[in-house]
Symmetry: C3
Subunit: 391 residues, 3 copies
């Protein structure tokens, strides 16, 4: 039958393009959140991560994840939609796992060692976890629509381990325990980036239904997209109410992180809950972000963009929420998925970063970090025409 | 029959995503047009407006507008496409009515009181007007494809009333009658925002045909989108020719406002005119903008982004143009719609803002306004790393 | 039959919207690459180019290219999809030919004379070449899927000729042969712009298949999009490896230009090669860019954004690569297309710019150029709030 094949292929291409819009989304979000002396390095990292991880994934990661033996789609067949569209859609996911990390490691990670890790992530870690959960592996009893665990927890565990190896930015934590604020250099870029991510999420979650070609499937896709939006809204509003009650000011970087937290949280179960549940799931997601960000700071886990709070905390919460709000999946299956993935990704990343630190080097020297990584890593400045008010 | 349901649902989702691209569009446009000391407040407002109005609308505004009694889509059924896709599409519209206002009120409106009004707008004012015109209400004899009146005039009347209550920015109008220019802080953001709005308009107008699933419907959607673009082009070119003839310089913020004026003007009738008429409708729209902006300034109606000129003036012009360029609709029906909506929205907004001003407070104190709203309202700066040349 | 007509029309609209996303893409890329004193002029140029060339093209260029005699689609019929969608899609292409030029001429071309040339380009030069290759003309024996030659070489030859008439920017080449670097003013805008172009390219190349309505067509469209992405990736990675090997720093503006070079190179043949070939085609494309940019500088051909290297060099390479990687097309047919188009576009552009220079004037005076074109051409500044570190 022609119609479903054509329409589902078109739908996958549409969704994939939306997801790729998250590449400028992450790049702008992170470029806005760091100080201007490190902006070019963050942008370069985002561009290279997209290029390198996508390349590795189409070259062999996709085959590893979906059971082919060879390279570049060889030996994998699809009958319901074009294999090329499916591979393009799956490829659009992979750079997210490392884009998540990029912000958390920013302002003191060198580009080349980080790219070495990215190759392992896209070529082995992510395809293995993806296969376990999404391709009939031993965790396939859990439900994870678009990757609260497969994408966000994986990236979240990895960035947590990497930050612990890497250490905090120079001067972030004072000897007497004070936490020095390092303000975001461009709030317009932060806002643009977060809103592009939000829009990309409609393809991320909606596309993970793969098919839209019957009225029932079309309803499910539409419900997923509406629920995704609702959770983002609820995360933003919950963060706003908390911030206003607590501080009487509305820091938009925290509000946007709240929205992203809600979006991560609904990513596992947008298809198996009704219209109301995303309000709760998303609101809790937003609150978790605004509570977790200062908490990690107190533990001296220096995460410049709040990546752990947004992606790991809410990746876990979203995965567990599936069991709380849908009868079809057990809490134990969901929890097992969370734990197994953490027990795999966290130590593997730790060891890899420790090895890279030892044998390649991972941080710039103190002077380069003080002057900003842009000069050493990239040889150019982000905004050379403007007089800077601080280093 | 499966095919039309699936394809029209997919089409509504595609259109809705384009419309939501207008959220970063408005945010970047307005952030670029205000001074850097108020940029964060404008961005925060845009993010919150999207979250709050969308939430209110899906929660009960949608039901109010489309005749359900309950909450959250309850009691409303659709047979031609997914109700979730339709609700998502309709929701994508609502934040535009207040995003229009956000720029006009910028640099001296506090966030929380504005948000209180936004709840009333999304929960009552807009759904009522929408029901009158688009859901078989007493104004349904008029033609308003995608909301020259329902969206743009509603937002335009509201921002006019609100500006009159709020008053001009500090120092804008000198005692001796001089008008002090307050230059836009970032022309790249203005350009980016306006172009994203332009692209979103294809979903806005095209999607308002709701269906694409027969050749005739596909032709109509395509004609709408082509006409929308033509009117935007004509608005930009007319504004350009006027500016060049008059000043010999080409202020791109005025050219882009001219394009937006043309886009607003074609929004009522893009489906009922031929290929040539949008040139005239859009060109007049662009001219109206460049003529109206200095006129409102002369009346000391301080509109930092030209929102009244773009959305109200052209919302009216576009609605009336339907009767001038299509025989199917009477001038009287179109004019009645314009007048009734104005007679409802303007006084209601006036009273609401007067009440908010009286009982909540609506402006920052003089010192906060002088220093910029960002510090007081949001606690952060837009571009902390750059040395500012003025306050 | 209804289904193919509807789905192909929808697909063309989807692709066209993606292509129009390249308008903000080019605008942001070029605004980021020039110095802040010329940013407004570049943005104004991009907005006007979109408006003017699109207008000229729908008004008569489309008819010239596709064989109608009249104006505005008159006398042209389509049976497979909506003529309005097809015209909209074709219109989305035309502004690219001059957006390519806009960056190369930036920082010393006046707006009005450039717009006069743009009218000739959109109304005559491009439609003629397009007709020769894409509408059964005398070059239709060559294969050029989405315009390595028709778009990129045409724009590339034109910008080369125009730069030779216009001369280099003031102070770019020292009397003693030194090349003065003129750093990009905003790397975030460069990155955003290049990534938006990349995303737009999926519509550019994918949409050039026109149809998606059978499984075979859906496979071809999907293959084209996957191949397009692969070539962009390969271009970025090849540029990165070269830069790192040579300079040990990673200049992201060069990496992004490498990606764009790969994208231009795959534009001619994405539909007639397999999955692996785009790696080679794109990698060579990326290398050509990083080698050609300093080469043109040595010849004192001052191209502020690398437009000639990206679009002309790779337009030629991509067109010839079709014959190297596919047996279906002869090298001679491809080469003939390259040569004929160059022999037509280069001298015509040369003469036109020489005439415009003589009779209208094309450069600002030395003082205006020194102070930046924004004041004279547009009357506003790009970032008035920030203290500039240099003129």
């Amino acid at each position: 039958m022609q119609f479903p094949y054509v329409i589902d292929t078109f739908f996958l291409l549409f969704a994939a393009v939306l997801i790729i819009l998250m590449a400028p989304g992450f790049a702008m979000l992170e470029a806005g959140l760091v100080r201007s002396k490190n902006v070019v390095t963050v942008l370069t990292g985002n561009v290279l991560l997209y290029a390198i991880t996508s390349f590795v994934f189409v070259l062999w990661g996709f085959n590893l994840m979906f059971g082919g033996n060879g390279f570049f789609l060889d030996g994998i067949t699809m009958t319901d939609y074009s294999i090329y569209a499916f591979a393009f859609f799956q490829m659009a996911f992979v750079s997210k796992t490392v884009s998540i990390m990029s912000g958390g490691l920013s302002e003191r990670v060198r580009l080349v060692p980080f790219m070495l890790f990215a190759i392992v992530m896209a070529g082995f870690i992510y395809p293995l976890v993806g296969g376990w959960i999404w391709n009939g592996g031993f965790l396939s009893g859990m439900h994870d629509l678009a990757g609260s665990t497969v994408i966000h927890s994986v990236g979240g565990w990895a960035v947590l381990a990497a930050i612990m190896i890497l250490g905090p930015r120079q001067g972030k934590y004072d000897k007497n325990g004070a936490i020095r604020p390092m303000p975001a250099s461009s709030i317009p870029l932060v806002t643009l980036g977060a809103l592009l991510l939000w829009i990309g999420w409609f393809g991320f979650n909606g596309g993970s239904n793969f098919k839209i070609s019957t009225p029932e499937l079309a309803d499910t896709v539409s419900l997923i997209i509406l629920n995704t939006n609702t959770a983002g809204i609820a995360g933003a509003i919950a963060a706003t109410l908390f911030l206003y009650a607590r501080y009487r000011t509305l820091d938009v970087t925290m509000i946007l992180n709240g929205a992203l937290g809600g979006l991560v949280a609904i990513t596992a179960g947008a298809d198996v809950v009704g219209l109301w549940e995303p309000i709760v799931i998303g609101a809790i997601g937003g609150l978790l972000v605004v509570l977790a960000i200062p908490m990690f700071d107190r533990f001296k886990i220096d995460d410049p963009v709040g990546a752990i709070s947004v992606h790991l905390v809410n990746g876990i919460w979203g995965t567990l929420a599936v069991a709380l709000f849908s009868d079809a999946f057990t809490f134990w299956a969901q929890l097992k998925g969370v734990l197994v993935v953490g027990a795999f990704v966290f130590p593997v990343t730790w060891v890899l970063f420790a090895l890279i630190k030892r044998f390649v080097g991972i941080r710039p020297n103190a002077e380069s970090e003080y002057n900003g990584l842009d000069i050493q890593e990239c040889g150019i400045e982000s905004y050379p025409d403007f007089v800077k008010s601080k280093v």
